[in-house]
Amino acid sequence: MSTLSKSPWILHYDASSCNGCDIEVLACLSPLYDVERFGIINTGNPKHADVLVITGGVNEQNREVIKNLYHQMPDPKVVVAVGICASSGGVFRECYNIVGGIDCLIPVDVYVPGCAARPESIIDGIVKALSILEEKKEKMALPVRVASGGEQ
């Protein structure tokens, strides 16, 4: 295990979630669950993040935002879809404004089911994502990417 999986920094994005899963994601940071034990930090900056945690499904409003956030994150990166809406669209799947789960837009590595997902299962999902992060690192051809303004 390299230092990569010992220090996963998380970017949490609320796609179109009802806020139920978001509360549970933030509960993981509280003293009860304290994810900083695993070196996990909730960053607000995609350029510092390793794990993209998304709650809620994709709609027309946040489509570009999700893509943008994903592309701004430096490789290796993993995506964790938290909650059933992020995994498949959930009960909103057939809605006129919902495109579907996060995986219809960007590749998702771990699905955490639940409505709302429990903090234990979110932590479990993120820890699972770390081994995928290591795998991705091994496959990665490095390193410099020159960011262009129009990259989408």
């Binding site: 220090s7 003293p31 930090i41 510092h48 430096p74 690192k137 390193p143």
Partner: protein, 288 residues
């Protein structure tokens, strides 16, 4: 006399000490918040990870600025520990931070811009007090050279209590701790995305982090000067000061930039200048 081996020791050892101090800091912070906290070596894991990440280059000039930031922080610290001229040390130290600001300005990002502006405000806020500290040490020891100040048998803290308190105030700014963590912050705190470091990713951010470790060791070394007549007292003072900083960090919320600027200048004026004035007056009456 200039001790090159001390400078070499600083260059080699400071990242380890700085990283360890950061680890203890995070652990203690977590305990104060009722959490278990990360492993002690977490800062090293973080930097190790950052070095493995892809580097996203926003503007090629970033490389140059961030490398200069690191180099000048190391140069100022090495000069300090070698026993060089305190004024030159402070000059190199300020220059290093100007490079950090330029690095943040070089990317066309509004978050980075605000961070850079706030970093500049912080420099304006702490700079007078740091220079006053050097002047105070000169007034007592009649030398700007660190090796002469170190060798002085006078208990500097008794001559410069006000300057010391003022220095503690700006130390909070320099260590990027609440309430003065305006431009960027430690731990999981966010500040307008991530302030001055927003546009640095991967290895570049690792360099900023390592520079910050060097900087912290240098600043703790600066505290040592006030107590240089007795090394055990000095080390105890450094430990107490750092614990106090962690306590303050966890007690206060973030201040506005106006409050930061005003309060640091008022404290620098009240504590620093009055202390120096008294000292100047006394030295005219009773020669030190």
């Amino acid at each position: 006399m200039i001790l090159l081996e001390n400078a070499l020791l600083f260059i080699i050892l400071a990242p380890f000490i700085g990283g360890l101090v950061a680890g203890i800091d995070r652990k203690l912070t977590a305990r104060m918040q009722g959490r278990v906290g990360p492993p002690l070596l977490q800062p090293f894991y973080d930097v190790g990870k950052l070095l493995q990440k892809e580097q996203i280059v926003v503007t090629p000039s970033q490389h140059f600025y961030i490398l200069s930031y690191l180099v000048f922080i190391v140069v100022s610290g090495a000069l300090f520990f070698a026993g060089g001229d305190l004024l030159l040390v402070i000059f190199a130290f300020t220059l290093a931070h100007i490079f950090l600001v330029l690095g943040a300005y070089s990317s066309y990002s509004p978050y980075s811009f605000i961070g850079a502006e706030r970093e500049l405000i912080q420099i304006i806020a702490y700079e007078p007090m740091i220079i006053l500290s050097a002047v105070g040490m000169y007034l007592v020891t009649k030398s700007f050279f660190v090796w002469e100040i170190m060798g002085s048998s006078l208990p500097l803290i008794l001559y410069l209590p006000g300057v010391f308190l003022g220095f503690l105030m700006v130390l909070t700014i320099k260590l990027r701790k609440s309430p003065f963590d305006l431009s960027t912050s430690h731990h999981a705190h966010q500040e307008i995305v991530k302030g001055v470091t927003t546009e640095f990713s991967g290895p570049m951010l690792a360099r900023v982090e390592i520079a910050h470790w060097y900087e912290n060791v240098f600043l703790l070394g600066f505290i040592y000067l006030f107590f240089a007549w007795s090394p055990p007292v000095a080390i105890l003072a450094i430990i107490i000061v750092y614990l106090l900083e962690i306590l303050v960090d966890n007690t206060f919320s973030r201040a506005t930039w106006k409050f930061t600027l005003k309060s640091s200048w008022i404290i620098a004026g009240m504590m620093g200048l009055v202390n120096l004035g008294v000292l100047y007056y006394l030295s005219a009456v009773v020669p030190v």
